[in-house]
């Protein structure tokens, strides 16, 4: 079942890629249909999902792959990965609908995005390090072509930078994986086996180095300060749906790696290094928010808020490594995973909204707009809702996540309170942005700005509606995540 979910888009992508005769219109609708089908399959999985026993997996599949290096095709989901799988399916569907207006090589674009969808799903279901790395690296490749092929501005350069930087991260990750593999006896790349074995527990030096390599890899992908500088140019020059996917799904690959691999497999090193993570988290939160505050370019601003939001996640998972009340740490990890989903929904919507600006008026500079609420009330409403959702307003998932992260991590260490100003600064920057873009008399390029239509409004509104739904009724989501978070906290406390 999981394999079907993962490879259905890939198969469709292959068909789209090799058949140049497919008309553009058919390609666009094929994309939507496949994304919809995949989402339906994910829905089936969700419906049939029952939290597995401690440390177990649901929908597990395991096939021989590379037995000589202890690697197998092993997939499965649990409370940590299933929400992200669902998020991926939702975000890609939203992008597919949004891209119905695309007229630049839609067939290739559809193929590329379906390919990306496959690899992103693959990362989230992979239970083998090599499989994980395979999908992880391919996501970089796919995104490179998305930015280079459909971007604007200095797209080639940004794409190159993105590729180089994240590739550096992925190699560091690979080194870490090799270290784990060699430390486990017998050697294996299988994640559950590694988690069970917790290699390097008695070798803090090597354990620290291996964790450092994995952290570096994941931190670049996440990204955290100071490894974030690839993000703003990549976002600025990427197409709207590219940015949405990049922010909503690809960044999660990094943070997901924390909870899936780094924490359970290296509990001792994680505990020893928890303070580093908390520091990185706090700095990312505050730094990301402050730098975002100073931006004049909407998309760059949103990009930096991603640094801020991912900082919350790092803070939450870092706190889990400390000695403290288990309840608080569970809350922190649950919050961190919730934040991944939440950020995916909300920031995805925000980037699509930013994309509308670029399409209509060709610039993201806030100074070029003003009073958009007059000509484009629907756009203004969506933007305002998304902004408030992103700044962590209750009734949206962001609040659920951030409240839990803060309650949990402050409950573990008071130092986490240093990140609190992040919430305030984020609020300030979004309100400033709202003010500059939407309010006041219409001016600059806002004059004659066409309001969003159904094909733009539907995906954006859909993402926000989900954020709202799970913001008001969070327990279905949290019931999914909490057992997984408990397991992770148990494992990391070994």
């Amino acid at each position: 079942m999981l394999s079907l979910i993962v490879f259905l888009p890939l198969g469709a992508a292959a068909v789209l890629a090799v058949l140049p005769a497919i008309p553009d219109r058919a390609a666009r609708w094929t994309w939507v249909a496949v994304a919809l089908a995949d989402l339906a399959l994910v829905g089936v999985v969700l419906a049939g999902y029952e939290s597995p026993a401690e440390g177990g997996l649901a929908y597990e599949e395991r096939l021989r792959w590379i037995p000589s290096v202890g690697s197998s095709y092993h997939v499965g989901v649990d409370g940590l990965s299933l929400p992200l799988v669902a998020l991926t399916a939702v975000v890609f569907l939203a992008c597919a609908v949004y891209a119905l207006r695309e007229d630049r090589r839609p067939r290739v674009q559809a193929a590329l995005f379906l390919f990306l969808q496959s690899v992103c799903l693959g990362v989230f279901v992979a239970q083998d390090l090599i499989l994980f790395f395979l999908f992880f690296d391919l996501s970089i490749v796919g995104m490179y072509f998305v930015i280079a092929g459909w971007g604007h501005g200095n797209a080639a350069r940004s794409a190159l930078k993105f590729f180089l930087y994240t590739f550096l991260g992925s190699l560091a990750l690979l080194l870490g994986f090799i270290g784990l593999y060699l430390a486990a006896e017998p050697h294996t790349f299988d994640i559950p086996e590694l988690v069970a074995a917790a290699p390097l527990a008695d070798n803090p030096g090597v354990g620290g180095l291996v964790l450092a390599a994995i952290l570096l890899g994941l931190a670049i992908k996440t990204p955290t300060v100071p490894f974030h500088t690839w993000l703003p140019p990549a976002h600025t020059d990427a197409p709207a749906i590219g940015s949405a996917v990049l922010a909503a799904v690809l960044l999660k690959l990094g943070t997901y790696g924390f909870v899936r691999i780094a924490m359970p497999a290296l509990p001792d090193a994680w505990q020893a290094w928890a303070w580093v993570l908390i520091t990185i988290g706090v700095v990312s939160v505050v730094y990301g928010a402050l730098v975002a505050l100073a931006q004049t370019d909407v998309k760059r601003m949103i990009a930096y808020t991603s640094v801020n939001h991912m900082g919350y996640v790092v803070l939450g998972v870092g706190a889990a490594g400390l000695v403290g009340s288990a309840a608080a740490r569970e809350v922190a990890v649950t919050g961190a995973v919730t934040q991944m989903v939440s950020h995916g929904l909300i920031t995805g919507a925000l980037f699509l909204l930013a994309g509308v600006l670029q399409e209509r008026a060709g610039t993201y500079e806030m100074a070029e707009y003003g009073g958009l609420a007059e000509p484009a009330p629907r756009y203004a409403a969506l933007f305002a809702v998304a902004a408030f959702a992103s700044l962590g307003l209750p009734a949206f998932t962001g609040f659920i996540a951030e409240f839990q992260i803060f309650a949990g991590s402050i409950g573990t260490t008071a130092a986490a309170a240093l990140a609190l100003p992040g919430i305030l600064i984020t609020a300030a920057l979004f309100l400033r942005a709202l003010q500059r873009l939407l309010t006041g008399p219409p001016q600059g390029r806002a004059v004659g700005f066409a309001d969003v239509g159904v094909r733009e409004g539907l995906p954006i509104g859909g993402l926000l509606a989900l954020a709202l739904l799970f913001g008001i009724i969070p327990w279905p989501l949290l019931d999914l995540i909490t057992p997984g978070a408990e397991t992770v906290v148990d494992l990391v406390s070994r």
């Binding site: 200095n154 930078k161 180089l164 930087y165 100071p226 500088t229 703003p232 140019p233 402050l290 730098v291 975002a292 505050l293 100073a294 931006q295 004049t296 370019d297 009340s325 309840a327 608080a328 569970e330 809350v331 649950t334 100074a367 009073g371 609420a373 009330p377 409403a381 962590g392 307003l393 209750p394 009734a395 609040f399 951030e402 409240f403 803060f406 309650a407 949990g408 991590s409 402050i410 409950g411 008071a414 986490a416 309170a417 609190l420 100003p421 919430i423 305030l424 600064i425 609020a427 300030a428 309100l431 003010q435 939407l438 309010t439 006041g440 008399p441 969070p474 327990w475 949290l478 909490t482």
Partner: protein, 650 residues
């Protein structure tokens, strides 16, 4: 579903009606946009009416409920003695304000009504929340809707930024609640409000501090008061609801709710009491100095909330809630009156409003009731409720009592100022002062008049909440049966003081010192102490980010010099433009930072880049094309390898 107290299902259902119905209708109205403009006011009023009925019912039924929300922390709602009073009051004021605004707001009424209803729902949840997540949920939604309502006339940038200020200031204080949640989790694991006093020792202080900051921020107490001044940019009905009965009041209400927690720490209660008393005094002085009616009322709100906070600090909850409710009615009345004059006369400047009361006796009369109540003139409500608070305060500290009494005198002064101005004889050239702020209609709609009457009645009689038998019952319910009551002497002293000051104000003009007129310079201080440094830091960091961090990566990767150079130039251009657009001082600071960057970090980074480039060239330089060079190099490498093998032996 239901709590252990066995409250009826009907009660629970009605409680959900109180908070849910306005939320749903409000959301629908907001989403519906212009299509709902026509039916919106009526729908809102009907909704509020239904909610009011339900609110009164739940005040009697006292239901308790919880639904799953976060793990370990349900979304708990309950009506207890405190909220049984506050919830109906808020809903009632909401209804009245909506009625009034039906006549006043003609620009997109659907959105306005929707936001008001959403706000009311949030207040309902805030008042009944039993867990921290639920409280914070509603608390922040209140903040956000207040932003939207203050900035309702979004075409005018000033009003929107006033909303921003309000939201940001209150949110800064809200961080206290996040902190409190974390500390509660660390110190005991329960996020239920009632359990907070039982949190383990060091964490309990953190919880108390967090709650205190959050309460003070929303209640516009010192040092957060200035946001309330900015918030007056919003429409008058908004001020009437948010800045009298609901949002600001909720700050005080939260502290009343958690007075046990405050008291348990030993220091938080005292702090609250003194902040409240000093706010009452200082903001009273600010009110005295105002010439803008709404500004005066705003400062007065903060000052009056000071008594509530004082009450929370001294554990005089019954007096505090009575003052809260009475003040809500009074201040809503005055704001609506101010709004009525604004729409009719186009001004809210006191000098221009001279004799305004004489143009319409109903507005003038109700306003007089309001101002007299505000002044603390017996037998109107605030006279008694205030003394109720002060009596408890005197038990603890005479100094508090004295400050409170002084504040009462000040409140009589500003109330008198308003009273005398509007009831003076209408000057002949009155028209010349009108229409300075908007085009006046010269008439007051009857939908605007009706609520005034109700509210005036409330302002007059809500003092009953402290008098027997209602007062006794209230104290009983709140477990304060033995609390000290004001003696006759105290009542007489405050009554005499109030009347004397009001009369004196009629005779002698009041001083209007600049420091008070500028709201103690709080806004400017915040600008200097917090906003500007943060912005400057943000600019500097952004520059750092582009110049150093980013370029480090560029340099490492950018072995193609052209690309890197072009990008760097682009960076500079974009950045310079960005910086030029901001304040000149910021520019200088940022430039300085950047220079440090250039010399320090960036120099090093460039060195690395140049080194890498040189290495690349060096690597290729070995490939000279001259064969004998290859021979020489091969020989040298082999010799080195041999040396390595011979030197490093195992």
């Amino acid at each position: 579903m239901t709590g252990a107290t066995g409250s009826s299902d009907l009660g629970v259902a009605l409680l959900w009606v109180v908070v849910g119905l306005p939320a749903v209708v409000g959301a629908v109205l907001c989403l519906a946009g212009r299509r709902a403009d026509r039916p919106a006011p009526a729908a809102a009023v009907v909704t509020a009416s239904l909610a009011l009925v339900a609110a009164i019912a739940v005040a009697v039924l006292r239901p308790e409920t919880a639904v799953p929300f976060l793990p370990g922390a349900d979304f708990g709602l309950a009506v207890d003695a405190l909220s049984a009073i506050v919830v109906p009051t808020v809903v009632a004021v909401t209804l009245l304000v909506l009625l009034s605004s039906a006549a006043e707001i003609d620009d997109r009424p659907a959105r306005f009504s929707g936001l008001m209803l959403l706000f009311a729902a949030a207040v309902g949840v805030t008042a009944t929340a039993t867990t921290l997540p639920a409280l914070l949920f509603a608390w922040e939604v209140m903040g956000a809707t207040s932003f939207a309502l203050i900035g309702y006339w979004w075409r005018e940038p000033d009003r929107v930024s006033a909303g921003t200020d309000a939201f940001l200031t209150t949110r800064a204080a809200d961080l206290g609640l996040y902190l409190a949640a974390g500390a509660a989790l660390a110190g005991g694991g329960s996020l239920v409000l009632a359990d907070l006093p039982a949190v383990a020792a060091p964490w309990r202080d953190v919880v108390a501090a967090g709650v205190l900051v959050a309460g003070l921020g929303k209640a516009a107490q010192l040092p957060f008061s200035f946001w309330l001044s900015r918030a007056m940019q919003g429409p008058s009905p908004v001020s009437a609801l948010l800045h009298s009965a609901a949002m600001v009041a909720m700050g005080g209400y939260l502290l009343l709710r958690t007075s046990e927690l405050l008291a348990s720490t030993g220091w938080a209660a005292t702090t609250a009491a003194w902040v409240g008393a000093l706010t009452a005094l200082a903001l009273g002085a600010v009110a005295v100095a105002q010439r803008d009616l709404k500004q005066l009322l705003a400062a007065s709100t903060a000052a009056q909330l000071g008594y509530v906070v004082l009450a929370a600090g001294v554990a005089g909850v019954s007096g505090g809630v009575a003052h809260l409710v009475a003040h809500a009615s009074t201040k809503a009345l005055l704001f609506l009156a101010a709004g009525a004059w604004l729409t009719a006369l186009g001004t809210k400047q006191l000098p221009a409003l001279r004799g305004a009361a004489r143009r319409g006796p109903l507005v003038g009369g109700t306003a007089a009731v309001g101002t007299l109540a505000l002044a603390g003139v017996p037998p109107l409500s605030l006279w008694a409720t205030k003394d109720e608070v002060l009596a408890v305060a005197r038990e603890q500290s005479v100094a508090l009592y004295v400050v409170g009494l002084a504040a009462a005198a000040v409140s009589a002064a500003y109330a008198g100022k308003v009273l005398w101005v509007v009831w003076r004889a209408l000057p002949a050239d009155a028209e010349s002062g009108y229409d300075t702020e908007e085009e006046g209609t010269r008439r007051v709609h009857r939908l605007q008049k009706a609520p005034l009457v109700v509210l005036a009645a409330g302002a007059a009689v809500l003092g009953l909440l402290v008098w027997p038998p209602v007062g006794e019952a209230l104290r009983q319910a709140l477990g304060e049966a033995g609390a000290s009551r004001p003696g006759v002497l105290e009542l007489v002293v405050s009554a005499v003081l109030a009347v004397a000051v009001v009369l004196a104000v009629a005779r002698w003009p009041l001083p209007e010192p600049g420091w008070a007129a500028r709201w103690l310079g709080l806004g400017a201080a915040t600008e200097v102490v917090a906003v500007r440094p943060v912005l400057r830091l943000a600019e500097a960091l952004a520059r750092f980010d582009d110049r150093v961090l980013d370029r480090a990566v560029d340099a490492a990767a950018g072995l193609v010099p052209r690309g890197a150079g072009a990008a760097a130039r682009a960076d500079d251009r974009v950045l310079d433009r960005a910086v030029d657009a901001s304040a000149p001082g910021t520019v200088r600071t940022a430039r300085l930072t950047a220079e440090i960057d250039d010399v320090g970090f960036d120099g090093a980074v460039r060195g690395v880049a140049a080194g890498a480039r040189r290495l690349g060239a060096l690597a290729r330089r070995s490939q000279t094309g001259q064969l004998h060079h290859y021979y020489v190099q091969a020989a040298v490498v082999l010799a080195a390898a041999l040396a390595l093998l011979l030197v490093v032996t195992r």
